[in-house]
């Protein structure tokens, strides 16, 4: 049944998200042409203006598409699980775990696809700009050398950073599903309650992170040893990101399941 749930989740989401992602490709090609045709070297104001508008539209579209993708996935979860469509979903002979897994996997896949496309788009856009490639390569080398000066960074660390990033993203998805689910416990203003839960959980997470660094600093000072982990692309150690994300995944998954299975109350 999990496979069938995922199949229909794909079918329900691709109608909007495939055209959106194709739009990234179209905008990338347009922006590429703008860069290639040296619009910005022209003396003609109209050409200059067109180039500027096209590049601005490109940057804006990347941002808007990412935001729309996330908002649509949240909306889709809300309407299909706790809206009218929930009457069908929750009377299917399927396990509640399968529902959560199907939604989380499909949402994660769309977000990953979106991120990859945007990264590829930026690389594609500047692929012929030697200065950009040089800057990018130099920057990466500088980063690796800087990190290597106090700790070794190798393939393992890079892979683990990516793994940690994946679980961090999954934790964010499950955090949203948990908050939407917890919001259903309120008799009225369920959406507002969900937003309230989101910020309450966010504050708790920040406090948890703060405690971690305070304790880490105290340990370092006590041992008179400066600990630097392999810094991830997000500025914190992959070990901490991975561990905290796994804990959050478990907590948010359980909260979502608990409300969906034990406290379900469709309007």
């Amino acid at each position: 049944m999990l496979g069938k749930l995922m199949k229909y989740e794909w079918k329900a989401t691709w109608k909007l998200l495939v055209p959106l992602n194709l739009f990234i490709v179209v905008m990338s090609i347009l922006a590429y042409i703008t860069v290639q045709l040296d619009f910005f070297d022209s003396d003609n104001e109209l050409v200059l203006m067109t180039g500027a508008v096209l590049l601005m539209a490109y940057v804006l579209s990347m941002f808007v598409i990412s935001v729309v993708t996330v908002i649509y996935l949240i909306y889709r979860f809300y309407t299909s699980v706790y809206g009218d469509e929930g009457y069908l979903l929750h009377t299917l002979p399927v396990d509640k775990h399968h529902i959560i897994i199907a939604k989380a996997v499909v949402s994660a896949s769309w977000i990953i696809l979106n991120i990859i496309l945007i990264y590829l788009s930026i690389l594609f856009l500047f692929s012929t700009q030697e200065r950009f490639i040089e800057t990018l390569t130099d920057g990466f080398q500088f980063y690796v050398e800087a990190v290597n000066s106090y700790s070794k960074i190798g393939a393992f660390e890079i892979i683990m950073t990516l793994v940690a990033s994946f679980f961090a993203m999954l934790a964010r998805i499950l955090k949203v599903t948990a908050c939407i689910s917890l919001g259903q416990l309120a008799s009225n203003h369920k959406v507002l309650s969900s937003i309230g839960f989101y910020y309450a959980i966010y504050i708790v997470q920040r406090i948890f992170t703060l405690f971690y660094y305070v304790i880490l600093t105290l340990i370092n000072e006590a041992s008179n040893y400066t600990y630097y982990s392999n810094t991830s692309f997000f500025g914190s150690s992959w070990e901490f990101t991975l561990l905290s994300s796994l804990i959050y995944c478990v907590i948010f998954y359980f909260l979502t399941w608990y409300v969906m299975d034990r406290k379900l109350n469709l309007d």
Binding site: M1, Y87, L264
Partner: protein, 238 residues
């Protein structure tokens, strides 16, 4: 004692209670629904009909007491047995009628696709039409077709004729009577009693979360000397 066998009651409620905050929606209900019967669950608005139906379908958890569907508590197994038509449209508007038929066939092993297409054809509903292009009444017909195309043990129909025109009601009632599995039961919740009374075998009256009457339809007509609709109006007179 819970009877868990093919010929036992399809629904057993044992002291079933549901409260919302301090408000009692169902008050210690004891109810057995037998197989092979069309049962009318009748009561005014807010009497607890939909709450009872939601609990049967696992959409709500009881506060106290228990409910058994074919001997099992509501769960994945009982969802194979119940074919449920809610009072609202639960179809994904972007899908075509045919895709919804495929959806039901994918999830319910007892779904009979040829029966569904036959009913769609009779009601002149184009299978390739998107649901968002259909009127509210036609969407309700599509839902009813999907629900009645299953060979379930229990059909739970919450207001199945409320949104359709009077001309279609007879066809829908005919569809219900002629399509349900003879060993199964149909639980029909409605306030349009006069329209459905001719097909009911049994009647359950529910008021303020209490079952106040459960009797064969014919017995009520004979004993009271009046139609169920008239009797209902007297019992629930404001």
């Amino acid at each position: 004692m819970v009877i868990k066998m093919e010929m036992g009651p399809i629904v057993q409620c044992v002291g079933l209670t549901k409260t919302y905050g301090g408000k009692i929606a169902l008050n210690q209900i004891y109810l057995n629904l037998e197989r092979g019967r069309i049962i009318g669950l009748l009561g005014p608005n807010g009497s607890g009909k939909t709450t009872l139906i939601k609990i049967m379908n696992g959409l709500l958890r009881p506060t106290a007491g228990e409910i058994f569907i074919g001997g099992d508590r509501p769960g994945v197994e009982t969802k194979y047995r119940i074919s449920y038509l809610p009072e609202r449209t639960y179809l994904h508007a972007g899908m075509k009628v045919m895709e919804m038929v495929q959806y039901f066939q994918d999830f319910y092993p007892d779904f009979r696709i040829e029966r569904a297409f036959d009913m769609l054809h009779r009601l002149q509903i184009p299978p390739n039409e998107r649901l968002k292009n259909l009127s509210k009444g036609t969407k309700e017909k599509v839902q009813l077709i999907l629900v009645m195309s299953r060979d379930a043990d229990l059909y739970v129909l919450d207001e199945p004729i409320a949104g359709v025109d009077p001309a279609s009601r007879d066809y829908i009632l005919h569809t219900i009577v002629s399509n349900y599995n003879r060993n199964a039961s149909v639980l029909l919740s409605t306030h349009l009693i006069s329209d459905v009374e001719s097909i009911l075998d049994e009647v359950v009256f529910i008021k303020y979360g209490n079952i106040i009457l459960q009797a064969p339809a014919e017995q009520i007509r004979r004993q009271e000397g009046k139609s169920i609709d008239r009797f209902f109006r007297e019992v629930f007179a404001c």
